[in-house]
Symmetry: C2
Subunit: 188 residues, 2 copies
DNA sequence: TTTGGCATTTGACTTAAGTCAAATAATTAG
DNA sequence: CTAATTATTTGACTTAAGTCAAATGCCAAA
């Protein structure tokens, strides 16, 4: 996964000036306050959000309960993927859980500039591959680890981030109840 | 998801003859007997397998138990994705569960011809998007459905599954024990 | 600095699904 | 066709995690 991020960075480093400008031309800086929504469930996701600062999460409602699907930090890309790709209403919300600054990239404009900038379609592919690998990893962890071990792994992989996030979100991200998470924490 | 498959097909229909030939030049028909392996755990996945005929599955071992990650049918693409993308040893086996015929596409050759055939990188992107959406859907189903409903959904979406596939594989694909699956089946 | 509202923990109980063992049923090989 | 093997079902019991309710901790605004 890390290796793949390096590939992505290497590609971006090698962008020619034109490509860089094109990308800038379709990007727009936006700011959201803690608690505000970058995307609502039911909306079609028409842009991707490159996190410049702060933390966001993706989640959906199931049975009046929130299921957090992803936690996104500085230099992550927040998108309601299926909605973005297939132009269908999003099942997910995207919400700022701290004040955030994002670089908002319009989807249609990005599609347009991809035509003339081969590096950009490569970037798109690499990012999508990265996301698919991340999803595979997440599925794998749900199948092979119990609540305790999933929490331990999260601590291991994202130690500092976890500090700033309410346990409710972490529990729902780990797919366990808040109470179970609380109990897990005492056992570590 | 269906809409996305249509996009993929539309793209393939519109391939120019050169692209088509290039693709053929890196493809090679192979046959496997029931039970044989297209890929072993630990191998680096250096090709993708387009299923022409038959059924395969992807699975890994966890605690001496098999976890089936994907069942693949005619016109599906079987790849150990993370291994393929990041050149790391595969955690997964790919196994023929009936006699199968596949069109085996060499990864490096495919990467080479992508350079000169822009349609092919578009194809790559669309296929990867499709896989990522499928993974999202699978995660969603694990989080929102219990054993009974996951089985019902499988019956609904892939009725032909059940006919040709031993229950052990179906159970491990649904993430439940064989016994639970057996009990679920009586309750339908 | 107090108060009201979240966030977290703790306790008692329930439940979905797993495990282990054994009994049938269905295929396959000889 | 029959034995052997493999697949599936059934039963009794266990367990990880969920639920509901209450207690405690913690911060932020008045």
């Amino acid at each position: 996964m890390k290796r793949h991020l390096k590939k992505i960075n290497a590609l971006i480093e090698n962008f020619d000036v034109e490509t860089e400008l094109a990308l800038q031309s379709v990007s727009k800086t936006k700011k959201y306050k803690k608690g505000e929504f970058l995307l609502y469930q039911g909306e079609i996701c028409k842009s991707s959000f490159w996190i410049e600062e702060g933390i966001t999460r993706k989640y959906y409602m199931n049975d009046k309960k929130e299921v957090t699907t992803e936690l996104l930090f500085k230099h992550d890309l927040a998108v309601a993927f299926s909605s973005y790709v297939s132009n269908q209403p999003s099942l997910e919300f995207i919400q700022a859980i701290t004040d955030v600054t994002v670089s908002c990239i319009d989807k249609n404009s990005f599609r347009n500039i991809k035509e003339n900038h081969p590096h950009l379609i490569q970037l798109d592919l690499l990012m999508t591959e990265y996301y698919a690998m991340w999803l595979e990893k997440r599925l794998f962890e749900f199948h092979t680890l119990n609540a305790i071990d999933r929490y331990k792994l999260l601590l291991l992989e994202q130690p500092d981030f976890i500090r700033h996030i309410p346990l409710t979100y972490i529990a729902s991200y780990l797919g366990i109840s808040l109470e179970t998470l609380s109990r897990v924490r005492t056992k570590i």
